[in-house]
Symmetry: C2
Subunit: 328 residues, 2 copies
Amino acid sequence: MKTRIGILGYGNLGRGTEIAVAAADDMELAAVFTRRDPAGVKILTQGVPVVNVSEIENWKDKIDVLVLCGGSATDLPVQTPKYAELFNVIDSFDTHARIPEHFANVDAAAKKGGKVGMISVGWDPGLFSLNRVYANAILPDGKDYTFWGKGVSQGHSDAIRRVKGVRNAKQYTIPVESALESVRNGENPELTTRQKHLRECFVVLEDGADAAQVEKEIKEMPNYFADYDTTVHFISEEELLRDHAGMAHGGFVFRSGRTGVNKENNHIIEYSLKLDSNPEFTTSVLVAYARAVKRMADEGMTGAKTVLDVPPAYLCSQSGDELRAHLL
Amino acid sequence: MKTRIGILGYGNLGRGTEIAVAAADDMELAAVFTRRDPAGVKILTQGVPVVNVSEIENWKDKIDVLVLCGGSATDLPVQTPKYAELFNVIDSFDTHARIPEHFANVDAAAKKGGKVGMISVGWDPGLFSLNRVYANAILPDGKDYTFWGKGVSQGHSDAIRRVKGVRNAKQYTIPVESALESVRNGENPELTTRQKHLRECFVVLEDGADAAQVEKEIKEMPNYFADYDTTVHFISEEELLRDHAGMAHGGFVFRSGRTGVNKENNHIIEYSLKLDSNPEFTTSVLVAYARAVKRMADEGMTGAKTVLDVPPAYLCSQSGDELRAHLL
């Protein structure tokens, strides 16, 4: 019997989850839940109901894993604990600083409901976290480096849009190539914020706005831009929509560590992602881990889990024998 | 209480294990077992006994995990099942084609003894396997690429040494840079054996040997060299020992996969290792997984396990709370 997936929230993540479920032989989409009027939500999959979230309790016995596709700022801190009492759930909560608090809330709710609640699944947190943990365990004496990009930072794009005179904007975070090379060469550099990433901004001005003033305000904005080498390009709204609508992203995780009687040997572990679509890749990770959630729930586990708690084989539909014969 | 580690076999892997255990705060080396006369084996750690393997049964209650540091060709197929009846064991068995058989033998023995027997831990099989499995689960529609090197292949070096007229030899496996670039660029190339790796040989001739004939025999050797672009350099024994004694190695695992309604988005996952010392890195992986073996045994698990069965958090001495706060 196929694993029955529910999706809550039908934006980029919801749509990506739907696509990833369709690509999985052992899963089927049972329903999409929305806060909007279901009549106004058109999904890709034929014959699957779109249901208002107010009716979600009626689906308790018809869904194996509910994939929560809301945002980390306000949706997931409420939704994940709430629905973990009713369903096995999985989310992509990505506010690193608030993970311990979110974990505790989901853990209590999931244990109360006898469910599994998996949080913070995606690529960072998610696959990058896995790589940091594996590499730290293997090379305890070393340094970690994480670089993001090239890709759009939503938070930085929003910050630019709040500047007076700005109509629209996209901001790319770009890793500094010479920093990547220095890490790859085993130089174990101490890198400042400025030495790790560049920030490139594409800005559409309001009519009559002062370009020089806008550029100055962006470049001097504390936390967001002041500590970086920032480039500002002024373009038309048409150019922004045409050239900067993509959702590509990526990044790099390194650990450079030493072994040997006199620490004479250096080792470099590098993990990198180059993604055409950030939401589709993130949801591909979510759906693989939804398979693990089902398996852990079937084994009787309950409570909050993260990628660090999941044996890799649990992500796969193949048997242990098949995995050992072909992928080990 | 620290995890008490035993080492069986004191070559490069045994020494590497000893160094990695010394670097772990939560472990201690209990004993080194050898088939040789213990009086002739000098280890690095003060105060730790070197014991003939004939006495190993006396150590049943004094060792939490026995790290088997023998070779995959003849040692481990016998040793791992044998000692899995008496101890929790871990090995680096790396003959991919024989893993299912080895797993079955170790599984039966470990279950009989109520122990955990973890096999095929290192970087390939091991970390590369993990990356293949994660990436296949996340991107089911895609292609895998594994490249090895630059590093010495022991099997190919041995094959050259069997050629008439050769006194000594080292062979480097080198990934073809243009192939790596093509994969990184998302071109999803179909690569022949020749397009993936180069083979570079450093050969010391016997006195009076025919260099041209030796070179021809190497380059035409089926399986080992005939399908590759091979370079042969003739050097002196002194040069070989001076310039080619290193144990550096490394490699790359890629998955390039598509998502999207029309498979319009490509994603590339790349994992790579650049290692100054192949044996020291391999044993760093073994020792991290020895920590997991102890934990799995403490939880009452028995039987054969591989890296695919281990939750990443089990490799770490830190608590789940610490890992979630700092590495997730």
